[in-house]
Amino acid sequence: MRLIPLLSLMIFGCDQWPQNQTVHLDDALWDPSTVTLDDGVYAMLPRAGRLVRIGTDDNWDTVDLDGGRPISIKPDSNHDRLMVHVQWPVCEDSSSNIVLVEDCPDDALYWDAEMAIVNEGERKAVSSVPAHMNGMAFTPDGNTAIVYMDDSIESHVVTGPVVDLTEVMFLDLETGETESLSIGFMPRNILFTKNGNRAVIMSRSQVMVIDMETRDVQIEYPLTLDADIEIDPSAAVLSPDDRYVLITIEGSSDLYKLDLEIVSIDMEALTGIPSDMATDPETGRTVLVYGNRAAADVIVEHDFIERQTLDLDEPATDIVIQDAVAVIYNTADNSSHDIVKIDLTDLQSTEYVTQNPVSSLKLSPSGDYAVAALRPQAEWDDGGLDGFQRSRWGLAVADLRGDGIVSLVLESEPVGLAVVAHSDAEYALLLLDGVEELIQVNLEEPGQYTTIELPSAPVGISSSPTGGFTIAHRSALGQISFLDPSTGDLQTTGGFATADFFSEDRLPRRDTE
């Protein structure tokens, strides 16, 4: 079959790749914000309106969503199932000559939405969760989710004529069955007790405690008695014994303590507006940091909110807790360079000073190291090594067993950072914008690093439940690499974004609606 085209090429001399024209498509062929489950990597294809599952060895397949187009994907808490918000066009005009979306009159066209629960590449269940309910909190056993509208996520796809901003939905992940409950305006933080029997749902000016068995409201806590005052919880934690809920309030230095056993509310006046709060289950202590105050509070006793204050050199905005150690740092202030380790057992603190402000921070699996991506402090290199470092991205490795810290200068902005342990050592896996290498930094000796060549520039890295990592590449046609960190083996699959490239914009489900 190729002989004649070859002959014609010889006779007529054609260009193998005619490219004198440029065609621009408005939608990306794939979204690199992928989700890795144990059965593969899932990616949305916005232009084709498809969901694909990508495996190793250049294997990939499409997931049948019955004509629905995925608009967001999230893993469940066990990284076992994929929660897919889908929408599809519906034409109220049932004329048989209306086949494509463009055939449908504008006033007869609307979009319907649902949530599909996908497992092993198949749609296992479907539920009628509207698209604007974009937040999810999973019960400890991972079998039920509470879905709500998360106003911290920028994109809201509102479908249907009526949107209830007080609604939450209980979603059974096995069957897809849902149950709605009106809970208060804009529910935002949802906590579960360890046994999963109760859910605590924060909303504007009130907190509800829900019995997960009966789905009834057990307790309702008003955060204010004045209807004109709006109180929006910013962070919330459950005490380790599940008795108290501690709530911080946006723009306020008040700390609310709700007693779930003897129904009561206590208020504690803090000395600043908390920017983050976290509880350590091992020591049962809660840490508070303040963006406008150079101190951290550790609540060592929740019954009476007994606080111990640790003075800092600089305010901190973020907390990471692991194995009775809290690491606090500042991601908001461009002049702040401190990472502080707080031993929650004896409340001793150790300060580490980075060369540039912290952009993000991760702890190593053993908790021995803190690895921070550093952002440039200055836009311009004003000379000298200090200027060189200040104007560039960096990586800091703090040895939490002692007081040592190393700040490295990076070639470009990190687009992915993961920390992994293998071969009796711990490593930071670093991806840099535009650099076609994976950089593996030995945390014991941060200056010593090795590289693994990548097929193309990366845009992100995520861990997989099987212990490996998946790397999304900067690729128009779709490219994902699978990394085994213990061996450095890299397998790449590409071209999955070509699925349904020439698809027509057909109206799905015409026979069933």
Partner: protein, 219 residues
């Protein structure tokens, strides 16, 4: 149906000419009516070139067979899909459509040098679709190649002009022009290697009005 058409053509046939065989090279312009062609090329006009050979069957009726092939393609740019990144990504897309043709051409008797023609062909179309992120590089870049087959037809009418007679009129040197309509059934591109079941890459329904010019000889 084809038999009926051929029969009706034979009924109005004029006496046979002296030439038994023909050969020509042709160049065609075709307007693609499938809107999905916009992803292949910014212009709806698809050009192709080909070769036709023929043999007189009866009177002015010849059976002809041949092929034509044409490439089209573009640089496709798409958004990155990454929030906050405005720059585009690009890849090259090219398709080669080759049509293998078998049909009949009837030459109406009119003038010695100027002859109206009517042509009917059955087509077998083969299309290869190539997508490559870096055509300068044969390495780790993402590249894909798919192919599809489909049947179709062509019907056209035109004029053939004999530029010169050679060898005591046994040989004619011709130029010709035909215009008509061509259609291929849907070319269904599938990825057959990435999963157990074929994965659809999509369809192209090539066809539309076309015009062809040819230079050849009858002898």
């Amino acid at each position: 149906m084809l038999g009926n058409i051929l029969t009706s053509l034979l009924c109005v046939a004029t006496p046979a000419s002296a030439q038994q065989f023909e050969v020509s090279v042709n160049s065609s312009l075709q307007r693609e009516r499938d809107p999905r062609w916009e992803k292949v090329s910014a212009t709806p006009i698809h050009t192709s070139t080909g070769l036709t050979v023929g043999m007189v069957l009866a009177d002015n009726l010849s059976v002809i067979m041949g092929f034509n092939t044409g490439k089209a393609g573009s640089m496709i740019t798409v958004p990155t899909g990454i929030d906050g990144q405005d720059s585009d990504l690009g890849f090259n897309l090219a398709t080669t459509v080759t049509q293998y043709q078998l049909g009949a051409r009837y030459r109406w008797k009119w003038r010695r040098r100027l002859i109206p023609t009517t042509t009917l062909k059955a087509n077998l179309g083969h299309a290869s679709l190539r997508m490559d992120e870096d055509i300068e590089n044969e390495g780790d870049e993402v590249s894909k190649r798919y192919s599809a087959l489909a049947g179709g037809f062509e019907i056209a009418g035109g004029l053939e002009y004999t530029v010169a007679f050679l060898s005591q009129d046994q040989v004619r040197i011709n130029v010709g022009f035909e215009a008509g309509y061509t259609n291929l059934l849907k070319l269904r591109f599938n990825d057959n290697n990435s999963a157990n079941d074929p994965i659809s890459v999509g369809e192209l329904n090539l066809g539309g009005p076309y015009m062809t010019m040819y230079v050849g000889s009858r002898f």
